[in-house]
C-alpha cells in the first residue's frame, strides 16, 4: 500500500473547516492591517474531514507500536503504557489549564507536581527534583550547567572537562559540549565496565563531572560503583547518572545511595508514558542537596498547605522550557507510579531483569554474547559471526520485521561489534519472548544457510529495504508547492 500524501489528496475547492459566523463587526482585513503584511498564497492542502480520517488511519496502520507487538528497542524501555494514564491526563482540569494562570487557580496541578517530586525523591534517594526538563537530553544539559555553577561557586572555576565512558549514549557528550565542556572518554575494561585504572588516570581537579549510565548500555551494573564514587569525589568531581536505564533499579537500589550527585530520569521510559513515535517524553532532574540551589527555576514549593511557584532562585541555571515542562507526561507518570505502588514497582525491575536474562540465555548458543553473565534489564548480542556471510546486525534487524517484531537497537553500544541491544521490559508475556527468541534463532540459521534472505529483508512489508543513500543524495524533505 502506498498512501498518497495529504497534498496529493488535495483538490481545489473542497469544503474546509466550518467556523461559527463572525459575531463582531466584519471590518475588512485591509483596514486592520497594512496590506503589505497580508499574505496571498498559503500552501496547505484542501481535503475533506473524511479523507483526513482515512488518510491518517491508513498511516497509523503502516506504523508499529507496542500495542501491536514486541518492541525490544534497547535503552528505550518500550513497556505497556496503561490506558488509565491517558484518561487522567485528558481530564479537563489538567488538559485545559493555561500555564500562566495564577497558582490560586492551579493548586491541583501544582500539588501533583509536588507529589510526583516526593515519589521520585524516594525512588532515587535524592533530595530535590525538577520536573521542568522536557526530555532526557535537556535534563542532561541542565545537569551539566548545574555542575558548572556548582564548581564556579565552590572555587571560582568551572573546570574544563567531563568524563564519559565509551559505552555511553550519544546525548551525553552532545549535552556536555553544549554546557561548554571538553570530553574525555573513559575506556571500558574487558568486563564491559568502566576501566578503573583508566578512570584514575583521567580524574583530576580539572574534571567537572563523570557522566555514567548504570546499569550501563550493555545492561551490566557497575559493580565498583561505590569505589568509582570515591575516586571521583576525592577530586571534587560530580557524579552524574544518565537514568535512561532506571527500569533496572526501581525499588532495588537507589542512585543516591550509590553516590550519584545528580540524576536524570526519562519519565517516558521507566514510568511508562507513551513514546508518541518520538516524543513527547519528559526528563526529570534529581539532585543531592548541595546542587539544589542550581535547579531550573521556577520550582514548586509548599507553604502553609498552599503550593506556589518559586521564581526567586538567584543561583538557578535559569529556565529550560517555555513553561513548566511536559505536564501531560508528568500526570501520566504520576498515575503510573500511584497505580503500581511500592510492591508493583519492585516487580517492575525484577521481571525486567528476569526477561532480559531469559532472552540472553536462550540466544547464547546462536549469537556471540560478548559479556555473557547475568545482566539487568537488557542484553547485548553480537552478529559478528555472520559477517563472513555478508550478514550484519542491521540485516538481522530488518529480517525481524518479517517475523512481525520490531527490531532491537542496532550498532549500539559502540564498544560491541555488530551489536543488537535487546530490552524486553517487564510487561512482555513469556510467549512473546519465546516467539522472539525463536525468530532470532531462525534468522541466525538463515544467516548461515540462506544469507541473501536476510541481507535483502524485509520481504513481507508494503515496502522493501529503503534506500537511505538516495535519501541523502537526492534530498527531498517536503512536498514543494
Amino acid at each position: 500500500m502506498i498512501e498518497p500524501t495529504i497534498f496529493e489528496l488535495s483538490r481545489e475547492g473542497r469544503p474546509g473547516y466550518l467556523l461559527p459566523p463572525l459575531d463582531v463587526p466584519d471590518t475588512p482585513v485591509e483596514e486592520l492591517l497594512d496590506p503589505k503584511v497580508i499574505r496571498t498564497p498559503l500552501h496547505l492542502p484542501e481535503v475533506s474531514e473524511f479523507q483526513i480520517v482515512r488518510h491518517f488511519t491508513r498511516l497509523s496502520q503502516a506504523t508499529f507500536g507496542i500495542d501491536q507487538g514486541f518492541y525490544p528497542l534497547g535503552s528505550c524501555t518500550m513497556k505497556y503504557n496503561p490506558k488509565i494514564n491517558d484518561e487522567i491526563a485528558n481530564l479537563p482540569g489538567f488538559a485545559h489549564l493555561h500555564p500562566l494562570q495564577s497558582p490560586g487557580q492551579s493548586q491541583g496541578v501544582l500539588q501533583l507536581i509536588y507529589d510526583l517530586e516526593e515519589l521520585l525523591k524516594e525512588i532515587a534517594g535524592l533530595d530535590r527534583i525538577s520536573l521542568q526538563p522536557t526530555a532526557g537530553a535537556q535534563a542532561e544539559f541542565a545537569a551539566m550547567l548545574m555542575v558548572r555553577s556548582y564548581h564556579q561557586q565552590q572555587s571560582g572555576n568551572t573546570r574544563t572537562k567531563v568524563l564519559i565512558p565509551d559505552s555511553a549514549h550519544g546525548t551525553n557528550p552532545a549535552s556536555a559540549i553544549l554546557a561548554g565542556y571538553k570530553i574525555e572518554v573513559v575506556k571500558s575494561g574487558p568486563d564491559g565496565l568502566v576501566d578503573i585504572n583508566d578512570l584514575k588516570r583521567l580524574v583530576d581537579t580539572d574534571c567537572a563531572a563523570l557522566m555514567l549510565t548504570n546499569p550501563n548500555t550493555l545492561g551490566l551494573f557497575e559493580r565498583e560503583i561505590v569505589k568509582i564514587s570515591e575516586i571521583v569525589h576525592a577530586a571534587g568531581v560530580q557524579l552524574y547518572l544518565d537514568g535512561a536505564n532506571l527500569n533496572a533499579l526501581v525499588g532495588m537500589a537507589k542512585p543516591g545511595d550509590m553516590g550519584f550527585d545528580v540524576v536524570h530520569f526519562n519519565l517516558h521510559k521507566t514510568f511508562s508514558t507513551p513514546h508518541g513515535g518520538g516524543g513527547p517524553g519528559a526528563g526529570a532532574l534529581g539532585v543531592k542537596s548541595h546542587l539544589e540551589p542550581y535547579l531550573p527555576a521556577p520550582t514548586v514549593e509548599r507553604q502553609d498547605n498552599r503550593y506556589i511557584l518559586d521564581t526567586d532562585r538567584p543561583q538557578s541555571i535559569g529556565r529550560v522550557a517555555t513553561f513548566y515542562g511536559n505536564i501531560g507526561i508528568l500526570v501520566r507518570a504520576f498515575t503510573y507510579i500511584s497505580r503500581l505502588g511500592h510492591t508493583g514497582l519492585r516487580a517492575v525491575s525484577r521481571l525486567a531483569i528476569v526477561n532480559a536474562n531469559y532472552i540472553r540465555k536462550r540466544l547464547e548458543n546462536h549469537y556471540h554474547i560478548p559479556y555473557n553473565r547475568p545482566c539487568l534489564h537488557e542484553c547485548v548480542v553480537s552478529a559478528k559471526d555472520f559477517k563472513s556471510n555478508g550478514v550484519h546486525a542491521w540485516d538481522i534487524a530488518k529480517r525481524l520485521l518479517d517475523y512481525e517484531f520490531y527490531a532491537p537497537t542496532v550498532n549500539f553500544p559502540l564498544i560491541v561489534e555488530e551489536a543488537l541491544m535487546i530490552e524486553p521490559t517487564e510487561t512482555e508475556p513469556k510467549a512473546s519472548l519465546d516467539a522472539f527468541c525463536d525468530a532470532m534463532i531462525a534468522i541466525a540459521n538463515e544467516a548461515s544457510s540462506a544469507p541473501d534472505l536476510v541481507k535483502n529483508a524485509p520481504h513481507t512489508l508494503a515496502v522493501s529495504r529503503i534506500d537511505e543513500v538516495t535519501a541523502i543524495r537526492q534530498l527531498d524533505l517536503r512536498e514543494a508547492p
Partner: protein, 447 residues
C-alpha cells in the same frame, strides 16, 4: 500490575537461565546499596481509587474548558477539531518510538514528512525539521544554528521576544555564546538599539512578530540590519498568524521558528507543546533534530526514512548539531492533522476571526473611561491596555464572572505596571467579549 509473567513461569525462566533464585541475577549489585524491603511509597491503588482521587485534584484547577479564557502570552485557547484526538490517540502512533526501522514505520515517517511540508508551506522556507521541544528551545536552537553557520558567537535579541523564550535562550547559551538584549521601544523592537549593538561577531538578530506585546514588528527593517552585517535574521512567529500574515521568509528571514501549541493542542499547563524550525536549504546540514526524507525502496517504490543522521548525537556524539534525541512527534502529528483539517481556507478564516475579534475587544475596552491603549502599533490577536487599577484585582473580579483575564505585565516589567496583555482567539464569542468589557468597566467605576 501490568506484567504478564506468572510465578510459575518466572520459576521456569529462572531454571532456563540457570540460577536458583532471582537474587542470583543481582550478583553484581553490591548488597550494601540494595534497598532493604519496600520503598517508602504508598501501596498500589486501583483505577477506581486513582480516578476518584485525581479527579478531585483536577477539579481544583480553574480551566479554559469551563471558564472563558483571555489569557495568551505564548499559549492559546484555540479550538481543537474532534478528529485530532480521535486520530492522534490511535495506539499505533502513541506507542511507537523514533522510526529507526523505516520499513516498519512508513506511516509515522510519512506523517513527519507531511509535518515538514506543512511547516514549509506556512513559513515559506524550503526545509523544516521533525520538531523541537517547544518554542523557547526552538529559539535557542536557532541561535546555536546561526552560530555554527556564521562561526560567530554573539546574538542580538529584541526585548519584545517572549521573556520565557529569552530566559531559555540565556540558559542554552550560558557557556557557548554571548547575548545582547535590546529593551523594547514603545512595544516594538528598538531598531536603533539593534543597529548600535550589532557588530562583526553577531551571528543572529532575533525578533518575534507578532511580538510578546502582540504588536507586529517592522520585519523588513530589522532583517535588513542583520543582513547588512552578514548576520542571520531569526524570527519567532505564531503559526496561526501565518494564515493571514506574510511569513518572515518573504522579508528575508533566514530561520523561522515558533510554538505549535495553537495548532490543535491543549493548553495542558504548558506542555507537551511542539517547537518548529524552518530555514533555507543551504543550511540543511547545520540544523538540529530529526529530518525525514522521501526516497525509494529497492524496487523503486516511494518510501520515507530518517535522513542526514550524521548531524545527530546518536552518530556524531560530541560534534552533533544538537543534543536533542526524543522530540515531540505526537504533538507534531496533532499539528499536522490540524493544518490538514483547516486547510488553506480554514486557517485563513481562523486567523481573520482572531484578528477581528481582538480588534473588537480592543475598541470596546478602550471606550471604557480610564482604559488606554498602550502601544500605537498594529496587532493580530493580542494587545496591551493600560488600566487605572491593578490587573490582579481586575482578574479577581473577572474570575467571579467566569473569565480568566489577561496577563499582568507588571510582574515582567515594572514600567508596565497596571498593563494587561489580552488575547482573543476565534473561540471567543461577542457575548463573552462583552462580558469581559462590562465586568472591567463596572470594576473601574466602582473602584
Amino acid at each position: 500490575m501490568f506484567h504478564s509473567i506468572t510465578p510459575d513461569e518466572e520459576q521456569d525462566m529462572l531454571k532456563t537461565i540457570g540460577v536458583s533464585s532471582f537474587e542470583d541475577l543481582l550478583v553484581e549489585v553490591p548488597r550494601n546499596i540494595r534497598v532493604k524491603g519496600l520503598l517508602d511509597l504508598p501501596p498500589p491503588q486501583s483505577e477506581l481509587e486513582l480516578r476518584r482521587r485525581l479527579k478531585i485534584l483536577a477539579n481544583q484547577n480553574i480551566n479554559a474548558d469551563n471558564t472563558v479564557c483571555f489569557l495568551g502570552a505564548g499559549a492559546y485557547d484555540h479550538s481543537i477539531p474532534a478528529i485530532i484526538p480521535a486520530l492522534a490517540s490511535r495506539s499505533e502512533f502513541t506507542t511507537a518510538y523514533t522510526p529507526y526501522q523505516a520499513e516498519r514505520s512508513q506511516g509515522l515517517l510519512q506523517t513527519i514528512y507531511e509535518f515538514q511540508s506543512m511547516i514549509c508551506g506556512l513559513t515559506g522556507h524550503e526545509v523544516a525539521n521533525a520538531s523541537l521541544y517547544d518554542g523557547a528551545s526552538a529559539l535557542a536552537e536557532a541561535a546555536l544554528t546561526a552560530m555554527r553557520i556564521t562561526k560567530r558567537e554573539q546574538i542580538v535579541v529584541s526585548g519584545t521576544i517572549h521573556p520565557h523564550y529569552r530566559g531559555v535562550l540565556k540558559t542554552y547559551l550560558t557557556s557557548v555564546g554571548k547575548i545582547i538584549e535590546i529593551p523594547h521601544a514603545n512595544g516594538v523592537t528598538n531598531l536603533k538599539g539593534v543597529k548600535d549593538a550589532i557588530n562583526g561577531n553577531t551571528a543572529a538578530v532575533m525578533l518575534q512578530s507578532p511580538n510578546f506585546y502582540g504588536c507586529l514588528e517592522e520585519l523588513s527593517a530589522g532583517i535588513q540590519i542583520a543582513h547588512d552585517h552578514k548576520s542571520l535574521a531569526v524570527v519567532s512567529i505564531d503559526p496561526i498568524a501565518l494564515g493571514l500574515l506574510k511569513p518572515p521568509s518573504e522579508f528575508g528571514a533566514n530561520i523561522t521558528i515558533g510554538e505549535g501549541q495553537g495548532l490543535g493542542n491543549p493548553l495542558s499547563y504548558g506542555g507537551p507543546y511542539v517547537g518548529f524550525f524552518a530555514t533555507r536549504k543551504e543550511y540543511v546540514r547545520q540544523i538540529p533534530g530529526r529530518l525525514v526524507g522521501r526516497t525509494i525502496d529497492t524496487q523503486g517504490r516511494r518510501g520515507f526514512c530518517l535522513t542526514l543522521q550524521t548531524r545527530e548525537q546518536h552518530i556524531r556524539r560530541d560534534r552533533a548539531t544538537s543534543n536533542i534525541c526524543t522530540n515531540q512527534a505526537l504533538i507534531a502529528l496533532r499539528s499536522t492533522i490540524y493544518l490538514a483539517v483547516m486547510g488553506k481556507h480554514g486557517l485563513r478564516a481562523v486567523a481573520e476571526q482572531c484578528l477581528k475579534k481582538a480588534h473588537y475587544t480592543y475598541q470596546q475596552l478602550c471606550n471604557i473611561p480610564g482604559v488606554a491603549p498602550a502601544f500605537p502599533h498594529s496587532f493580530f490577536k493580542e494587545f496591551v491596555v493600560k488600566l487605572p487599577c491593578s490587573p490582579a484585582t481586575v482578574n479577581q473580579e473577572l474570575l467571579h464572572a467566569g473569565i480568566i483575564g489577561g496577563l499582568d505585565l507588571g510582574s515582567y516589567d515594572p514600567a508596565l505596571t497596571n498593563h494587561m496583555l489580552i488575547s482573543v482567539t476565534e473561540k471567543r464569542t461577542r457575548d463573552e467579549i462583552d462580558r469581559l468589557v462590562d465586568t472591567i468597566a463596572r470594576h473601574i467605576k466602582s473602584a
